[in-house]
């Protein structure tokens, strides 16, 4: 092989390794920006009003998915509360038409990851640990790129008797 060819191949390899390192180091900033929602739902306002995470995302304690509040739940308050605000008027429109709002997913996992909220909440984890300070977010966004390395960072920190089970591939990939 000529020296030139070796050099080219080495450069490409370095570029790829560099790319991988870049992703690892910059996990936070690479996380997606806040997706545009049909209604600009403001988490900060609701958190300040005293609404708990589990009030709307009620399945998190008992199911794989945290769930989204039904339209009925939203209207439970917003029949009267802040009914003059624009976003609430849009919401009421949807409700009159009995049409569900198509929310854009914020925190996402690839298809081959089987994540369940229930054991995490059962282990005493708070929502902010993974989802960031949602109570301070206006429009919800994913604060950190939830790749496997990030999950393992926490799983590996567990006491040794749990760690073996928690780093088994079959725990999340079925």
């Amino acid at each position: 092989m000529s020296r030139r060819r070796v050099l080219i191949i080495a450069l490409i390899a370095l570029a790829l390794l560099g790319g991988g390192a870049y992703i690892r180091i910059n996990r936070t900033s690479l996380a997606s920006a806040a997706p545009v929602q049909p209604i600009p739902f403001n988490h900060r306002v609701h958190a300040q009003a005293g609404v708990q995470c589990l009030f709307c995302h009620s399945s998190a304690l008992r199911s794989d998915v945290a769930g989204l509040p039904s339209m009925q739940k939203c209207m439970g308050c917003h029949q009267t509360i802040a009914a003059d605000r624009e976003p609430v008027k849009t919401l009421t429109d949807y409700w009159q038409r009995q049409e569900p709002i198509h929310w854009q997913p914020v925190n996402t996992m690839p298809d081959f990851v089987f994540f369940s909220h229930q054991p995490h909440l059962g282990a005493g984890l708070g929502c902010e640990g993974c989802h960031g300070n949602v109570g301070q977010m206006d429009i919800a966004r994913q604060p950190v790129n939830m790749d496997m390395g990030w999950c393992l960072d926490c799983h590996l920190k567990q006491p040794s008797e749990k760690a073996a089970r928690l780093v088994d591939c079959l725990l999340c990939h079925k």
């Binding site: 769930g67 989204l68 009925q72 996402t108 996992m109």
Partner: protein, 746 residues
């Protein structure tokens, strides 16, 4: 490919490199999340809800639990509390999801334009369809000229339709399909009626006898494929497992008497390859030996000696090909056991001496005092509400024939067809298609465009069973009175309508007597009222204080049954007055020209062909040949050698009635003078998975000349010849035809 220059290479690498970086984002489909508008009470997002219902893939009526996530049915399991299947479910039951989500389902009511058969269907509104039906029925000069032909119709619909027809003054529904024919269900009911019916009992419809397989030490099955498709295969398989390894006294013994080694015979301790038609002789021979040598521990057989007066064991040995020594051994095995039972199977009904043969088999149970004893013969205890009295309301072939005669004579103006496919299932000479010509209005309720629906003027698709309501008497019975309930597990996917609702709507609009006979607003109201007939019965697994509460519990449990096992001891009221006899079986086809017996059998996956539109069932390997997706002909290795054919050679099978071509499977488990073909393929319609695949062997079945009217369809009485064609066809098989051990079979 031209030599890649260095510049091109660098360009490609750069582009690829960029691609690698930008493609790092997680592989996620961009979907939107849709919350509930009004959340259902019982739903926890991400978790399943289970509904109890009843399987309708065969007449048995096993209880099922269906796993529903987010309004979609994901998995069907057996209901552990159900007394028939006790939590287990067969391959066909598991495939129910493919009936519900089949891509070839009819999505709305259609009317055929341009005459029948050209398959030009125009969607119509249900209101329009009902209007047409009402005006046709009102316009009939004589409303007795309405007929209903059904197959596997759920019991609640049978009840409604029967009342409807009665109020119109029309004859009762004819319930006939190929599956029940191949099981010999009507003939089994007749058998029970002949032996155990009260003299003043009903002529039609009698509960089917139950055989206590689980606790038998010795089972002699005369062609009953207990573990495959006959009667309640799941319940029988469960009991078989117990018979083998679940009994305290040791393993049971199963002997299977049939010309072809079926899957049941493969699990048997002894397979006796009987010559077709001589099964009854063998049973006679066994009985004679038992009585003559006074075998068994049930006391004297003197009272039953007359039954076997004219029997000569040596004659029987000669006629049947089973040696006297073997007969003697078998008789001893049967009689020595404290708990033995003889079971008359389905294919016996397809022989000309079927009724007599079944009698001789039942006689063995009577002689050995097996009625009402553990491991013996029972009758189901009736459910204590008239609505649900378990009776096999199956019509014999003769009734189907007389319906066809009436149609031919122009005596039927309106024909309703539900859950049966007579154009496919009946042999051509039965004349069904020709008879349709004389019927003014043909209405099909099929959920799929099958061979019969394409001859209909109106197709008003019923819901598939996972979307529908109903109840089903468990027949043959479980070990206790039971009614299996059916409820929708998902919302109906398409604009289909429950046939029961159609009948009730018709009745309401016709008014008068008909409306009075069917006063319910809809199917659910009818079912609610029916269920509450059992309110207050203390023997049930639950009770309630109000009808609403009872109906709730009914749906929750998936039906009603008693807490404790309860079966009836059959009492012989129809003891033969003279010696038993079995006429020699008559076959169609001169043995010189047609040297082989044609042994048809319902395919385990497709049964009578109804499973052919479900891809899992098509892909399911046949347990004995491992064949799938097509039809084949099973030949004994000696037969194959003499014909000069090997596996996958295409042969032509010719009967006096027709011919078909199929690939050969060299099959060691069949008599050299018989060939076997599974039923189920050969559809010309019925969806992409069923169409243009294999052949329908019913086309070979020939009518028995001089067949007296009123006899069953003799589908096991045809002789055939087999000819090579020189062609080959790669039959889809699970097993490989290469490798060690195949030499013997070539």
């Amino acid at each position: 490919m031209k030599r890649l220059s260095r510049r091109d290479f660098l360009k490609t690498a750069a582009v690829a490199g960029v691609g690698v970086f930008t493609g790092i984002a997680p592989t996620v489909r961009r979907v939107a999340l849709e919350p509930f508008v009004r959340p259902p009470e019982e739903e926890l997002p991400g978790r399943a809800t289970w509904f109890a219902s009843t399987c309708r893939q065969c007449p048995a009526g096993c209880g099922i639990l269906v796993r529903v996530i987010n309004g979609r049915a994901r998995k069907i399991e057996g209901n552990p509390a159900h007394p028939l299947n006790r939590g287990k479910l067969c391959a066909r039951g598991q495939t129910g999801l493919q009936v519900l989500y089949n891509p070839d389902r009819l999505k709305n009511a259609v009317r055929q334009t341009g005459g029948r058969e050209p398959r030009q269907f125009k969607p119509i509104q249900w209101t329009e369809a009902l209007d047409q039906l009402v005006s046709t029925l009102n316009g009939l000069a004589d409303r007795s000229r309405v007929a209903f032909l059904g197959g596997l119709v759920p019991d609640h619909l049978v009840a409604l339709v029967s009342s409807f027809l009665k109020a119109l003054g029309a004859p009762p529904p004819v319930l006939f399909d190929l599956h029940t024919t191949l099981e010999g269900r009507a003939e089994a009911a007749d058998l029970a009626r002949r032996w155990f019916g009260k003299p003043q009992g009903q002529v039609q419809g009698f509960p089917l006898p139950m055989y206590d397989i689980a606790r038998a030490q010795v089972i002699f099955s005369f062609g009953a494929n207990l573990l495959e498709t006959w009667m309640s295969p799941v319940s029988q398989s469960y009991d078989y497992g117990l018979m083998r390894q679940g009994q305290a006294g040791g393993r049971g013994f199963l002997a299977q008497f049939e010309p072809r080694l079926s899957m049941t015979a493969a699990s048997a301790d002894k397979w006796i390859p009987v010559e077709p038609g001589t099964e009854g002789l063998i049973a006679l021979g066994l009985g004679r030996i038992i009585v003559e040598d006074n075998l068994g521990h049930v006391g004297s057989h003197r009272d039953h000696a007359y039954l076997y007066r004219n029997v000569s064991v040596s004659d029987i040995a000669q006629a049947s090909g089973v040696s006297i020594e073997t007969l003697r051994k078998l008789a001893n095995v049967f009689a020595d056991a404290d708990r033995s039972v003889a079971i008359p199977g389905g294919y016996l009904a397809g022989l000309s001496n079927g009724a007599q043969t079944m009698d001789t088999v039942m006689a063995l149970n009577v002689v050995m005092r097996r009625l009402g004893r553990e491991g013996g013969v029972f009758l189901p205890h009736q459910v204590p509400a008239e609505q649900f009295t378990s009776s096999a309301s199956i019509s014999p072939f003769s009734e189907a024939q007389s319906l066809i005669e009436r149609m031919k004579a122009g005596q039927v103006d309106v024909l309703f067809i539900h859950s049966t496919n007579p154009v496919y299932e009946l042999p051509g000479w039965a004349g069904f298609v020709e008879a349709l010509d004389k019927v003014r209005l043909v209405v099909s309720f099929s959920s799929f465009m099958d061979e019969t629906a394409i001859w209909a003027d109106l197709v008003l698709p019923d819901h598939t069973y996972l979307e529908g309501w109903g109840y089903q008497g468990v027949s043959p019975g479980a070990d206790r009175p039971a009614v299996s309930g059916q409820q929708p597990v998902v919302r109906p996917l398409y604009d289909t309508r429950s046939t029961a609702d159609v009948v009730l709507a018709l009745a309401a609009r016709l008014g008068g007597q008909v409306a009075q006979a069917l006063p319910w607003s809809d199917e659910v109201a009818f079912l609610e009222q029916s269920s509450t007939q059992l309110l207050g019965t203390s023997s049930g697994i639950y009770d309630a204080r109000t009808p609403d509460g009872f109906w709730s519990r009914w749906r929750q449990h998936g039906g009603w049954w008693t807490e404790k096992p309860l079966r009836d001891e059959p009492e012989v009221s129809g003891m033969p007055t003279g010696p038993l006899q079995v006429s020699p079986a008559a076959f169609v086809g001169d043995p010189q020209q047609y040297p082989f017996h044609l042994a048809l059998y319902p395919s385990l996956a497709l049964t009578d062909g109804r499973g052919a539109n479900q891809p899992w069932l098509q892909e399911m390997p046949d347990p004995m040949t491992t064949g799938r997706w097509n039809t084949w002909v099973e030949l004994n290795p000696v037969t194959a050698r003499s014909l000069g054919v090997h596996d996958n050679d295409v042969v032509k099978v010719i009967s006096p009635q027709g011919e078909l071509e199929a690939a050969v499977v060299v099959y060691p488990g069949i008599r050299p003078d018989a060939v076997a073909i599974p039923v189920g393929q050969g559809h010309s319609d019925y969806g992409r998975f069923a169409e243009r695949r294999g052949s329908n062997p019913l086309s070979l079945v020939a009518p028995l000349l001089g067949q007296a009217p009123g006899l069953p369809l003799q589908w096991a009485a045809t002789r055939v010849r087999v000819e090579g064609t020189g062609r080959r066809q790669e039959l889809a098989r699970l097993e490989s035809l290469d490798g060690a051990g195949r030499e013997k079979l070539r």
